[in-house]
Amino acid sequence: MNAVAVRDLDLDLDAFEGPFDLLLTLVLKDEVELADVEVAGVVLAFVERLAERASPDLEACGEFLVLMAALLELKARGLFPDEELAFDDLDPEEAVGELAERLALYRRFKAAAGWLEERLAGESDRYFRLGPAPLAPEPERRLAPQDPAGLASALRLLAAEPPAPSLNHLELRFPPVSLFLDRFRAVLSRHRQFVFDREVDSLSRVEQAVAFLALLELRKTGEIKLGQPASFEPITVWSAA
């Protein structure tokens, strides 16, 4: 990028589209309202163009800064027309006078700051209590109108005795296995064989379970043989003797 490239910089702004050089010309001829031109957009375009290069072009950067400074000054004049006089070149003597006044004002406050600093150092042995701000009165909490009877009934629900826990599961009675051992042995002594499901059909589930344990016990001791055609089919019991 060289100096000419800055002027050729392509811009795509809301108020203007084209090369930077043309924008400057139109601005100077008052054909483009500079107040509407987004200066940041111009800077961004230049930075993007600069980023495309491997090394920065100082000459291009320098010219760009000068052009932007001029543009900003023109824009400032346009934005503050009432203060146009302030931008006019001051008489050198007036400028010196104004600057001297401002410096003198600052010098006074700098001296005042020094006075305060000295004062603070002189008061370093003054201790006093720094209390917190007075407590604000507690705001009164206003409750919505309440119905005492409703509150009592709600509390009564909470105060009801809880239901007694069920102990039914503790009351299961298991008949002894021996009862069924004797019973099955008696049946086998009479009939040589029987169908287990039919034999226990009238019993409770607990009794059926104990009866099944008795069956397994008899099988273990080799007193019986068992037969079942398929799962969940009736079990047939034979005497092994």
Partner: protein
């Protein structure tokens, strides 16, 4: 003995005791009007009683000293107890005030109510950080706006006066007495301009 004393008690003594109590519980200086209102007494009698208290509570006589500060009256520790006080309490308000903070404080104390842009114009640098720090310390406080929606203005607080031991802001020295006018600066600037032009 107590009964005999009560018979000859000066009525101002009783008021002085009441004022002592008020000053002990107050967290900031109390004006004569505030003391008169709380004690339900006349301001002239309050002034007399304060004189009595001041003679009792003074440097060299008591560990507590009555002082006229920040537009009111307050108790503080005697200076001879400063070292012991320093071992007991911190003073975060006045500790570590930077040059920028002191300059900003000076501008606010002399010109307040004053806005941040005005402070920045005088000091030549932005004052946002210094102002925020001083507000946090309680040395300056907001005092309205320049106009509807304008910049916030700041003023020095009673705490500022108390920390710096001032009975009021009018006790600050005149700015003109602190530094010369602009004549010497003008001469020097003209000399510099002359050298550049040569």
């Amino acid at each position: 003995m107590t009964g005999a004393l009560r018979l000859v008690e000066n009525p101002v003594d009783r008021l002085a005791r009441t004022l002592e109590a008020l000053l002990v519980i107050a967290s900031s200086p109390l004006s004569i009007e505030e003391l008169a209102s709380a004690s339900e007494d006349e301001t002239e009698r309050v002034e007399t009683a304060l004189g009595l208290i001041a003679s009792r509570y003074r440097e060299g006589r008591s560990g507590i000293v009555l002082e006229h500060v920040a537009g009111g009256y307050a108790f503080r520790a005697a200076r001879e107890a400063a070292e012991a006080c320093a071992r007991l309490v911190e003073r975060p308000v006045q500790r570590g005030l930077s040059q920028a903070a002191l300059e900003t404080l000076a501008v606010v104390a002399y010109l307040g109510p004053v806005s941040r842009p005005e402070i920045a114009r005088i000091r030549g640098v932005a004052a946002d950080s210094a102002v925020a720090g001083l507000v946090e310390r309680g040395l300056i406080a907001e005092a309205g706006r320049e106009s509807d929606g304008g910049a916030v203005r700041y003023r020095a607080t009673p705490l500022f006066e108390r920390v710096f031991g001032l009975s009021s802001l009018s006790e600050l020295p005149r700015l003109d007495d602190l530094a010369e006018g602009s004549e010497d600066l003008r001469t020097r600037l003209e000399e510099v301009a002359g050298r550049r032009g040569a």
